[in-house]
Amino acid sequence: MSEVFELQYALDTFYFLVCGALVMWMAAGFSMLEAGLVRTKNTTEILTKNVALYAIACTMYMVCGYAIMYDGGLLLSGIMGDGATGEADPATYAPSADFYFQVVFVATAMSIVSGAVAERMKLWAFLLFAVVLTGYIYPMEGSWTWGGASVFGLYTLGDLGFSDFAGSGIVHMAGAAAALAGVILLGARKGKYGANGAVNAIPGANLPLATLGTFILWMGWFGFNGGSVLATASVESANSVAVVFMNTNAAAAGGLIAALILAKALFGKADLTMALNGALAGLVAITAEPSTPTPLQATLFGALGGILVVFSILTLDKLKIDDPVGAISVHGVVGLLGLLLVPFTNDGSSFSGQLIGALTIFVWVFVTSYIAWYVIKVIMGLRVSEEEEANGVDLVECGMEAYPEFTSSKS
C-alpha cells in the first residue's frame, strides 16, 4: 500500500466523518426550527420528539436499516474491518465512516415528519412510527436507489437514468411522503380551519429559534451535499466538493430571496417564516444535483424552489392539510422539483428516469407509511384528546413546560 494511498484513505475518511457530524447537527436545526414554529405549550414535546427520533433512527439503522439498504449483515457485522485490504478496487474510506455518514441521513428523513404532525400527535405513536420508517421503509427505498438493488425484481432505477445526488427524493421527499400520510390520518390542529374555507393563522412562538434552526440547517447542508461527493483527496473530487459547497450556498440564497420578495408581493409584508422556508426549499431543490449546475443555475434553481414552496404552503392550507412548519411543501413538493431539475445539467439522467424514480419513492413511502400510521391508530390512537390539545401536549406527554412560571418545590 503506497503512502499516497494511505494519505488519501485517511483524508477521505476524515472528510466523511466531519461531513457526517455536520449532518448530525441538522437534527439540532430541525429541533430549533420546529420549536420556534409551534406554540409555547407544545415546545417541550416537539423537542422530545426530535431528540428521541434521532436516537431511534441511529439504533434502528444500526440493527437492520443499513443491512437492508446495502445488503450487509444485521447489527453491522463486519463493519469494524479495513476498507482498503482484500479488495480489487479498494474504497478510500473506512466502512464504519460510511455507516456513520448514512445513518445521519435516516435521521434527517424522520426529522421532516415531526414538524408536520406537531402540536397534536401522541408522542409514543410518533416514536413507534419512527421505528418503522428508519428500520424498514426508508432502508427499502434506499436500497433501490443508492443501494443499486432492483425494485422487487421488476426494474432497476439506475438503468432508467435515475439520479439523486444527495437525496432530494430519497431523503427529503421520502420524509415528506411519510409526513403527508400521517397528517391525512391525523387531521388538522383544532381551530386551524374555520367554516366557509377560512384558514386561521396559528403563529409560532419563537422566531429567533426558527431563524437559528434555519441557519443550523443551512450549515449542516454543506455536510449533507458536500459529503455526498464521498471523497475529497484528489484534484477531481476536491474540485467537485468545492463546487457542491458553492452551489448549495447559492441555491439557499436564491430560495430565500425569491420567497421573501414573493411573500412581500402576496401579503404586503415580509413574512420571515416564508423566507426561512424559502432558504430550505432552495437547499432541497439543489440537493438532487449540486455538482453540475453553474452558480447562476444553482441560484435560479433555488429561487424556483423558494417560489414553489410559498404557493405550495398556501395550496396545502386550501386543501386543509395542516402542516405547522411547512415540511411537506419544503421537502416533498420542492424535493420533486429538485429531482426534475437534474436532467437540465446532468446528461447522465433522464426525465423519464427521474419521474419513475420519484413515483417509486413516493408510492412506496406513502403507502407503507399510511399502513403503519393506520395500524398505530388502531392500536393506540394517533391524536391527543381535544382538551389535552387545548392545554398543550407539553404537560400531558412530558409533564413539564418549556418555560415554567410560578412553580415551587413540594416540601
Binding site: 386561521n200 393563522a201 403563529p203 402576496l266 401579503f267 417564516t273 404552503i313 392550507d317
Partner: protein, 112 residues
C-alpha cells in the same frame, strides 16, 4: 388619598416617569398590559392566513397620592403622554382608604 391609574402608550413611559419625578411623586408601580379601546385592534397575516390582534400593548401605572398632589399629577401625566392620536390611553382616579408601609407600620399619607 387617591389611587391614580393611568393607561398610556408604552413609548411614553420615560417622559411620564420624568414628569412625575419632577412633581415629587415618590413611587409608581408599572405593569405591561394589553387591551382595547376605541383604537381597537388590527389584522395581520402569518404564512398567508389572517389573524386579528385584538389587544394592543399598553403600560399601566398605579400611583398612590396625597389629595393635594392629584390634580398636578394628572396634568403631568396628560401632557407627557399625549400624542393627539387615537390610543393615547386613560386615567382613572379612585379613593384609597388606607396605605400602610410594611417596613415601619406607618399608615395614611405618611406611608405614601
Amino acid at each position: 388619598m387617591k389611587m391614580v391609574t393611568a393607561i398610556i402608550k408604552p413609548f411614553k413611559l420615560d417622559e411620564v416617569r420624568e414628569a412625575l419625578g419632577d412633581l415629587g411623586v415618590t413611587g409608581v408601580t408599572v405593569t405591561e398590559v394589553k387591551g382595547f379601546g376605541r383604537q381597537k385592534g388590527h389584522t395581520e397575516l402569518y404564512r398567508g392566513a389572517e389573524y386579528v390582534v385584538d389587544f394592543l400593548p399598553k403600560v399601566k401605572l398605579e400611583i398612590a397620592l396625597a389629595d393635594e398632589l392629584v390634580e398636578r399629577a394628572v396634568e403631568a401625566i396628560t401632557s407627557a403622554a399625549q400624542t393627539g392620536k387615537i390610543g393615547d390611553g386613560k386615567i382613572f382616579i379612585t379613593n384609597t382608604e388606607q396605605v400602610i408601609r410594611i417596613r415601619t407600620g406607618e399608615t395614611g399619607a405618611d406611608a405614601i
